[in-house]
């Protein structure tokens, strides 16, 4: 970027090209091929790049890693870090991706939808500049629910929701100044998503009555508040689509264990319950894109292995405070490991769900990453990713440990580049997704566009 003007112009184009996306939203999957699924799982409190490193690096490789130099290693030849051991069965689908920066995001304690939207989001709805990448993907792979979001809501801190078990603003965004809403409890999620096919006749009657109430309301609002009438119509349209796939939905409706239906549950159980519902939603075809806030700094963590009776305050852990006999690092390890068991469950279950010649997992990409970068008070220098991709995934990443060139070097990539790659690979030709990082401009490399080497 030679001049600031070119920079601004391209930046404007970058945001402008986004408006092409709606044209693609009507695009059905090509030629009856199954749609791609995307699962975005993000955590609070940062993720240290150092813990992502396989312990089996050679001396040279370790030296390069220490200097944050570029690496591209075959994971098959390496041992996984201890906390990733639950993913052992998926070693060949795994990618550990390091070196992606995200300084254009809000970082720190709370980041709202920054890491998925690639802009500085804050508690004000006005800060939501455009839809987050998961919604953009959802537009390309339409489904009745379009997108489902789950969360372990924060009840404290600077970003509290009022409820653990209800529906509240989530961490993805549907469009400019349009936050998304997430399910806080697995029970509510299951109820809402699967009510049309409930085995309970009362629930089904109620569901039918609901349909009629919506129709009534839509008719009455047509002459009054257009946007409201449109939303009502959108819900009705969705209901019609759900009806059309009633069989599939019925077959895959989640059967939740009693502990996932309780009013009080540990964080760990909540996460597992959410996993059950999100799997059912994906496999039944209700949605193709799921976002899951697996923890957030203001959420008090309960049920962690080794600390079952503790209410872990992740903010304190982020500041190095121990919990019981465990050091802060050990707590972080336990939290991560627990997350990996969730990813294992998801991948294993998707692998068991047949689709086409293979399984649903073949057409899936699972992203696990921190919503605020490389540490608790991060600056967005690095967003480490754990990816699980099926064999039909369009990005050329499986089975590798990749560290991209460091900040300022040629070939360095930001979150914007990563998501652009994702969108380009699946049919959205956007030039660049997300805000630029002004700090990169001075190095003279082009920071816009996809990461070419990942595009097949």
């Amino acid at each position: 970027m030679a001049t600031r003007r070119e920079f601004m112009r391209t930046a404007a184009l970058g945001a402008g090209a986004l408006t092409l996306a709606p044209q693609l939203s009507k695009a059905a999957p090509v030629g009856g091929k199954p749609p791609m699924r995307f699962i975005f799982i993000h955590k609070g409190n940062g993720l240290f790049p150092s813990v992502m490193v396989p312990p089996s690096l050679s001396k040279d490789e370790a030296a390069t890693e220490a200097k944050k130099g570029p690496l591209d290693l075959d994971l098959a030849k390496h041992e996984l870090p201890a906390w990733m051991k639950p993913l052992a069965a998926h070693h060949g689908d795994l990618t550990i991706l390091q070196g992606v920066s995200g300084k254009m995001c809000t970082t720190g304690h709370h980041t709202w939808c920054s890491s998925l939207g690639v802009y500085k989001a804050n508690e004000r709805i006005s800060s939501i500049k455009w839809a987050t990448v998961d919604f953009e993907l959802a537009k390309m792979f339409p489904s009745p629910m379009e997108h489902v979001e789950f969360a372990c809501f924060p009840l404290g801190g600077g970003n509290a929701r009022g409820t653990l078990n209800g529906i509240a603003t989530g961490f993805s965004a549907r469009g400019p100044q349009q936050p998304n809403y997430a399910f806080g409890s697995p029970k509510l999620a299951a109820q809402e998503l699967f009510k049309a096919v409930s085995t309970d006749a009362n629930v089904r009657t109620r569901s039918q009555l609901d349909r009629e109430a919506l129709e009534f309301a839509a008719r009455r609002e047509r002459e009054k508040v257009r946007s409201y009438a449109d939303s009502l119509e959108a819900v009705r349209e969705r209901d019609r689509k759900v009806d059309a796939m009633a069989d599939s939905i019925r077959r895959h409706a989640p059967k939740l264990d009693a502990k996932y239906l309780a009013e009080e549950m540990t964080t760990v159980d909540r996460q597992r319950g959410h996993v059950e519902v999100l799997l059912a939603a994906l496999v039944s075809g209700l949605t193709n894109v799921v976002a899951f806030t697996v923890d957030e700094l203001g959420h008090e963590y309960t049920g962690l292995p080794g600390m079952e009776t503790e209410r872990v305050n992740l903010h304190d852990v982020g500041h190095g405070k121990p919990v019981g006999k465990l050091t802060a690092d050990e707590v972080r390890f336990a939290v991560r490991r627990q997350h990996m068991t969730l990813l294992d469950t998801i991948a294993a279950r998707l692998k068991k769900a047949p689709e086409g010649e293979g399984s649903v997992f073949d057409n899936t990409m699972i992203f696990y990453f921190p919503d605020n970068g490389e540490t608790h008070h991060s600056h967005g220098a690095e967003y480490p990713f754990v990816l699980l991709s099926g064999k039909n995934a369009k990005l050329n990443l499986r089975g590798r440990y990749i560290r991209l060139p460091n900040y300022g070097e040629a070939g360095h990539a930001t979150l914007g580049n990563l998501y652009t790659t994702l969108l380009n690979a699946h049919g959205n030709p956007i030039k660049h997704f997300g805000d630029p990082d002004p700090g990169l401009a001075r190095f003279g490399h082009d920071q816009f566009g996809p990461i070419r080497r990942f595009l097949g």
Binding site: R4, R5, E6, F7, M8, R9, A11, A12, G16, K103, G108, H109, E123, R124, I125, S126, G156, G157, G158, G162, T163, G166, I167, T169, Q178, P179, N180, Y181, N202, T205, R206, Q208, L209, D210, E212, A213, F216, A217, R220, E221, K224, V225, R226, S227, Y228, S231, L232, A234, V235, E263, E300, H315, H319, H377, D435, P436, D437, P438, G439, A441
Partner: protein, 835 residues
Amino acid sequence: MRSGWGAIAVIGFVVGPAARGAEMPPNVQAVLAKYCAECHGEKPRGGARLDGLAALGPNERLDLLNKVQDQLFFGMMPPPKDDQPTASEAKALADWVRAELRSHKASKLDDRLPYPDAGNYVDHTALFNGTNQEKAFTRGRRWLVSPQIFDERVLDVFQLEGRERDGMRRSGFHGVTNPFVLPDHAGVRYYDLTALDGGHLLVMLTNAEWIATKQLQAARIKAGDPNAGVADPKDKWYPKTTPAPFETIVAKTGPPTDAELADAVQLQFSLVLRRRATDAELVQYLALTRAAIKAAGNAEGLRQMLKSALLESEFVYRLEFGEGKPDEFGRVTLGPREAAYAIAYALGDRGPDAAILKAAADGKLVTKADYEREVRRLLADENWFRGPVDKGLSGMHIASHVVSHPRMVRFFREFFGYPGATKVFKDIPRSGGFYRNPDRGHLGTPGWLIQEADEFVIWQMAKDTAVFENLLTAEDYFVYHNMDTKAGKAQIAQWKDVYETLKKTEWKSKPEEVMEAHQKMLVAAKILDPRTKELWREKRSFLYYMYWFQDTFGQGRTPFTRGPFTHGYTYEHSPSYNLPPTPHRGRYEGVETPRYKEPKVFPAFWDYPVEQPFRVANRKGILTHPAWLVAFSANTASDPIRRGRWIREKLLAGVVPDVPITVDAKVPDDPHRTLRERVNAATRSAACVKCHSRMNDLGYPLEQFDDFGRFRTLEALEHPDNLIKAGNGKDTADVYKTKPLDPTGVLSGTGDAMLDGPVKDSFDLIDRLAKSDRVRQSIIRHAFRFFLGRNERPSDSRSLMDADRAYVTSGGSFKAVVVSLLTSDSFIYRKTVEN
């Protein structure tokens, strides 16, 4: 210099198919050539080239014109040191650019105008110099209710009153989520800018579900219906009685008659929409209900009707379109019913009371005098709007103050923005251990600070004299004010009596004997619990108090009217005001055991002032209140830029452009420089100073207060290189080298020549601001926005001047301002205008 301009000027600005007479007139071209060409021609400064407009594609051209419009509007170009165009030259250029953009519906400035952030875009002088004689009005509008109004409407559906209403208002309903979130920043926030959308719908659906269920629960239980309630066993509450028209239908075994159904529909309409259903609506609703009853029985069918009424958009809207014949200026007045709602919702959240509704029905809410009568009556009514200032503040330890007009207090809360203090996470050790971050169920230290700032505001509003000046300059505050003066004095007297009586006894070595001998006095003072059978069980309480009295009375100081060892005690924030701490409960841990070691050191605990408010040193008004200072600070440092910006926008009616996206807003570290010096260095370049000159110099004086709100003369240079002694990571802060603070600042570009000039320190700054007309008028403008729910326009000039005069002639009464605003043309008249 004028190199390429001549040629381009001849070609003009033919843009192609989109052009609608888009030629730049010669006078406008001349302005560009004279003032802009030098820097924005061949080698364009800031990358903005203004001589090739014609050659640009349509999007790029509009983009550039928007940039030009912004630069002109915010007064950033030409730079202050260069030649400035005359007023008419500037206007010619600005008007042409704006017209161009508007003709393509692409004016970003215009898009921003309705938003609260852009309220100051209207020129201040023009609003208050009396030149504008236009007739004021508000656009007819359908306005989404505020979160608070929504809560009241739900309470109305259940017909809750009195204590039950207060209780449910405080706790909220288990199954009702408020669909509305006001934008989260300092300043007026409740405008008619959003419409119901998909996100709201989801919430409205779940709400309607729950409310409809609860409305029928009592009757269904009576009828032995197993599906009467909700699935959640924790969700126990339901209204004790179901209204008769609903109960009739639920209890009936066969289908209900038309008359019974009509009664039910009319009742629900009155509860939810506060009106009768029209004949057409009745027909629709009857059909709906009948079909549902056929499918699912009386109860479920009725619930369907209840739910549908709750899904009406009207439930969450306020309608203000005006009625009757337009006057000679095309304006109509609010209809009487609309007026009743408009007045009630301006003053509170509860909606109109019976009296104003009757006045409306009787045709007595038509003239300005009518409006004034009702406004004054409702302002004097102590009970209709009574409620807590902010129920979000109430939790485990704090109960938000209950006042007669919480919405009025809310104006100042939003204006000053101090409730934002809860959003800033702090590092506890940095505070020396006293600070508590908000946590589950309580709001910690900022919660208390906000509560105390509220009390300060409430006090000044109650006196209703020189309200603005006092809010800015009063030096008497409320800290740890848990009892009124009379009760507090009585408490202290009683305790002192106990101490004086017992101090010479052997209370330390023989506590039980002393307790027995003086049991009556100790029980009266609530030091001993009379219900306890065995006296020895009360030893701990007795000793707690006595050691505490020794620390306070014994040192000639008055204790706080609550012991630190009492259950739920969380008062630890006096250091925010630089006041000495009160004893910590840990000091008395184990008093009743033999291993208790009496403390040998007697720190100078706070000599608590029972009579409040009281003078606090080095403080002046809200801007030096710790709540405000914390709200406008960062996690680990103060924030002179945001503090300065607040002053510029809220007190000086100024405008500061948004941070450009290319700015990476970080203050560099430097072990040798104070925050002020580092901020200065980072914002000094030509590109930055354009905006920062409007903010920094106003925020620097407030550097006299750190990011916990504490007054200081030295700044700790918090850099690892400067560490003198590390803290213990819990309750002692790290000790750093310090540097003296420079509290000077500058008032410039205020538009008030009397106000501009160098500033000695924050107290000087505040004094001068408080005395200025401009500041007073700026606050009036914000009050206008709050009570009318929109930005002011040039045509509102008369209304604003009237409100200003009302304030001044009444000796600074805020109530007078409110009466003036709610009887102004701006409030009373409506006009349906296309945008």
